[in-house]
Symmetry: C2
Subunit: 215 residues, 2 copies
């Protein structure tokens, strides 16, 4: 999608400028949706309110996203694109998975709205009839499996600490990241010196279960 957008923007003909404008408006709606889903959840969000926040009509918004569920899907895809693009680049550049994970958590600490919407949706969508349910129901086991693969690699390389059970450690790394996000979000309204440092706490845990997480 990003590639398509670049090509058309560079070409500069009138209909394509229109397309680029449409892409920019779509992006604006997406950002407003991230903020609003973060504020009041998926069920509490209103397409009319999102349209009003980006200065377009309700039918104008429906032109980009015909349903609230379609907008939700786009928000989830957007988050994955952001997260995985950087994360995968870190891995390609030879960083270990846990090093890449710590860097991802550090980046998250700079973008409250994205963390807020994701933590909120993950908790809201535990109900089987929520439109994001299947997304998260698949995402958790997938993420845990990725952790497990890395922990088993480390077991083979002798950098897993004695007595650590990879399957349990894999689940608890993911659980810890989720739980720290919630405490971090609440700590943002408190005094600065009481702010939760998600990456530092995760690093402390990784140090407990593996030898030198970053290598």
């Amino acid at each position: 999608m990003a590639g398509v957008s670049e090509t058309t923007t560079e070409s500069g003909t009138a209909p394509r400028r229109g397309y680029a404008k449409g892409r920019a408006k779509r992006e604006e709606i997406l950002q407003a949706a991230i903020v609003m889903f973060g504020e009041v959840g998926y069920h509490g969000a209103s397409l009319r309110e999102i349209a009003s926040r980006v200065g377009i009509s309700h039918p104008g918004l429906l032109h980009h996203f015909p349903t609230k569920a379609a907008l939700l899907e786009a928000v989830l895809e957007h988050r994955d694109e952001i997260d995985f693009a950087d994360f995968d680049r870190d891995l390609e550049q030879g960083r270990t998975m846990f090093d890449a994970l710590l860097r991802l958590v550090q980046r998250n600490a700079l973008r409250r709205p994205v963390v807020e919407v994701f933590a909120g949706l993950a908790a809201e969508a535990t109900s089987p009839d929520h439109p994001a349910h299947d997304y998260f129901a698949q995402r958790y086991p997938t993420t845990v499996r990725r952790m497990l693969t890395e922990l088993e690699r480390r077991a083979g390389a002798g950098t897993l600490r004695p007595g650590i059970e990879p399957a349990v450690a894999a689940r608890t790394i993911v659980a810890l990241m989720d739980g720290l996000q919630i405490q971090w979000l609440y700590s943002l309204d408190g005094p600065r010196d009481a702010r939760v440092d998600m990456a530092a706490d995760l690093k402390t845990y990784l140090d407990l279960i593996v030898v030198d997480p970053a290598s």
Copy 2:
């Protein structure tokens, strides 16, 4: 509150029977609210729908809970009453805090709706203008401090493992419990042998940071 209810129910005069009936209806509304907040969150929940689920009119519900925020407050108090009553009794009976905590998590695994509503509200209420924001913003530091007190006691008693920093461990215990709830909720729809065992995973973590969590 529970004491008041018992007294009036036992007395058996007509107006008091009416009061007991009112208490029963109030309890019914509370249970329906727990389910509905769990399903669609606070913002997504509708008082009309909750009233309809317990077979009363909308004004009838407003007689018990004049606003949605009042109902939310009652749900949060109810959860605390349930949790802390059992937890505190365990402590009074001489169990250690971590033993009591593991028992609390085991009880939670038997009551999906309560876990669902609480995990959902905690994530939804990270927005400062959410009516449950202050509740959770205070609850997290309070819970973390309780863990910290126990970890410091253990440090003094020599049952904290070497190299464990009590302040970090206190935050991560709470974070782990939150995160495991989310994975557990999603695992309930999957195959039985892939179900997350929250208490077992928490126990594994506690074993890493203290010597014999249950003693």
